[in-house]
């Protein structure tokens, strides 16, 4: 698979040359493939947000360089060149509804494409497409975004990013504070964009079940360093290590752990409900229960 994003020994120091200097990410080298659904996990303050902000050049490395869709960014890249770079990388921040500002939903969604030089007609078309993708009713287009519910506002914000037709979409805990239905709808949207629109998805999350249900690749961060990269199965294979990273196991693995403790020989940790159920059925002997 082609590489969409590659970081080469990237270090970012906040407030370099001051007594408060702090390495937010430290000598990070990694690759993210085109069309992958990659999650970044790690406890609060491990450097996840700093890492993804490099991917669309909101931060420049203080050392090392990165290459995104063939464009290189290093500490000497001038700010003028960043806009072209960002065009292809959409970024949905935590609580993105906070970025809304226009008078109407439609105008807010058109804001991004127009900044990148798309004409009014095209921008409008993209905006309506994006609204459809995130499940916003067309009738809301002329409403003020500030009159909508919290969940709807978040969709407007996400639509505003999607309207730019990015090739890479970064989502920083996009479901924080949503109810279960809202959560699932946003996650399903990410999957749809990945599968049907061939978008490369990079998702920061604290929900290990989402890692299992949606991701193809996992990057684990701790204290500014990448400490593990692999498939969900590889990353969660060692519960002790996972706990040591101050992370949780996915629900099914956690439940299997408890079964193990109770003396049920469950074998290798299952990651999904179906895997766990299959394992139990095999142990019980199918169908011979009351």
């Amino acid at each position: 698979m082609d590489t969409a994003i590659s970081l080469n020994k990237v270090t970012h120091t906040y407030q370099a040359n001051t007594p408060f200097a702090q390495n937010a990410i430290d000598n990070v080298t990694l690759q993210i493939s085109k069309g992958s659904f990659t999650t970044i996990i790690g406890h609060t303050g491990s450097g996840k947000s700093t890492l993804v902000q490099h991917i669309n050049a909101l931060l420049k490395p203080t050392e090392g360089h990165l290459e995104v869709l063939g464009r290189v960014i290093d500490p000497n890249t001038t700010n003028k060149n960043l806009k072209a770079f960002r065009k292809h990388v959409g970024m949905v921040f935590q609580f993105p509804e906070k970025q809304l500002f226009e008078e109407t939903v439609l105008k807010d969604i058109m804001f991004g494409p127009k900044n990148y030089g798309v004409n009014d007609g095209e921008a409008k078309k993209s905006a309506f497409n994006a609204m459809e993708l995130v499940g916003l009713d067309k009738a809301l287009a002329d409403k003020s975004p500030f009159d909508l519910s919290g969940g709807q506002m978040r969709r407007v914000a996400i639509a505003g990013v999607l309207a730019m037709n990015p090739e890479i979409l970064i989502l920083d805990e996009p479901t924080a504070g949503l109810d279960p239905r809202g959560h699932q709808e946003i996650m399903d949207l990410a999957r749809y964009l990945n599968k049907n629109k061939q978008m490369t998805i990079v998702l920061i999350t604290h929900q290990m079940d989402d890692v299992i249900d949606y991701a193809t690749n996992v990057i684990v961060m701790d204290k500014g360093k990448v400490v593990k990269v692999g498939s969900p199965a590889q990353v969660f294979s060692d519960p002790k290590w996972v706990y040591g990273m101050q992370l949780d196991l996915p629900s099914s693995a956690e439940f299997a752990q408890q079964l193990k403790k109770a003396g049920v020989n469950i074998g290798q940790l299952p990651l999904t409900i179906d895997a766990l159920a299959d394992r139990i059925v095999r142990l019980v002997g199918k169908g011979d229960t009351k």
Partner: protein, 264 residues
């Protein structure tokens, strides 16, 4: 992550840290007045030694104080140059058109520079050794006599303390919103003035909306915690006048007397 250091307060337990905020506030004010009485080399020398002692007593690296000058450096240079080039009197050393440099203007320029330096130093000592909260409390204590004329001193102090408390929150939010709009193709800080003003809208509207939301939620939370009127509350913190304050004042008053005495 916020790279903003709140009020630039540095925790510590030095003599200066331990002084009561109201006394520090008034003493800084008094010091600034004394600076304007100083008009010769010796008096500036005495004040410089005084501020040096204060800095040493604060136990804070001198680097922080020098950093305090940086944002004002252009203002200082401009004012000092103005003084040097346009003041008259004394022996002319150099002149060109309306500009002239005399020995007196050089000395005056030096004094202006010293005034800036001393004022920046004393206010930096104040903010580095006093939490914003303590400053708010100090203001409250100083303004207490105004309560007699029904001036809402406590409300003012509470508002000030809440405003200060939300500064880092809003700075963080500003950074996030700027990043979010940058990701949507906004260029902050470049282009024509018109372009810059236009770019401020996507930043300011969300920032204000957010601030209003904070304010609404905060007022609900305050009400739920039994808040009704800030003029009728007890106080958790009390900053008592201490021996340290008295000693400092006596010392500063003596220096002040000397500066006025040797005034030319």
């Amino acid at each position: 992550m916020s790279n903003f250091i709140f009020g630039r307060y540095l925790p510590g337990h030095s003599w200066i840290h331990q002084m009561s905020p109201q006394s520090k506030l008034l003493l800084s004010f008094y010091f600034v007045i004394i600076i304007f009485f100083a008009n010769n080399l010796i008096s500036y020398g005495i004040l410089s030694i005084l501020i040096l002692i204060v800095i040493l007593l604060s136990g804070i690296s001198i680097m922080y104080f020098l950093k305090g000058i940086r944002p004002l450096i252009w203002l200082i240079i401009f004012t000092v140059l103005l003084q040097i080039l346009f003041s008259s009197g004394g022996r002319v050393l150099w002149h060109f058109g309306p500009f002239s440099v005399t020995n007196e203007s050089l000395i005056n320029g030096g004094f202006i520079f010293m005034r800036f330096l001393l004022i920046i130093m004393i206010s930096t000592v104040l903010t580095l050794t006093t939490t914003p909260l303590a400053i708010a409390d100090g203001v409250q204590t100083i303004l207490k006599p105004l309560k007699k004329v029904k001036f809402p001193v406590d409300t003012l102090a509470l508002m000030l303390s809440i405003a200060l408390r939300f500064v880092p929150t809003l700075m963080d939010e500003m950074e996030t919103i700027m990043n979010a709009q940058r990701a949507r193709g906004v260029d902050f800080g470049s282009g024509s003035l018109k372009h810059r003003v236009k770019a401020a809208v996507p930043l300011l509207v969300p920032l204000f909306t957010g601030a209003i939301n904070h304010a609404e939620n905060l007022s609900t939370a305050m009400e739920a915690r039994g808040f009704s009127d800030s003029e009728h509350r007890t106080k958790y913190r009390q900053y008592r006048w201490q021996v340290k304050d008295t000693i400092s004042w006596l010392f500063f008053l003596a220096i002040g007397a000397v500066v006025i005495f040797i005034r030319k």
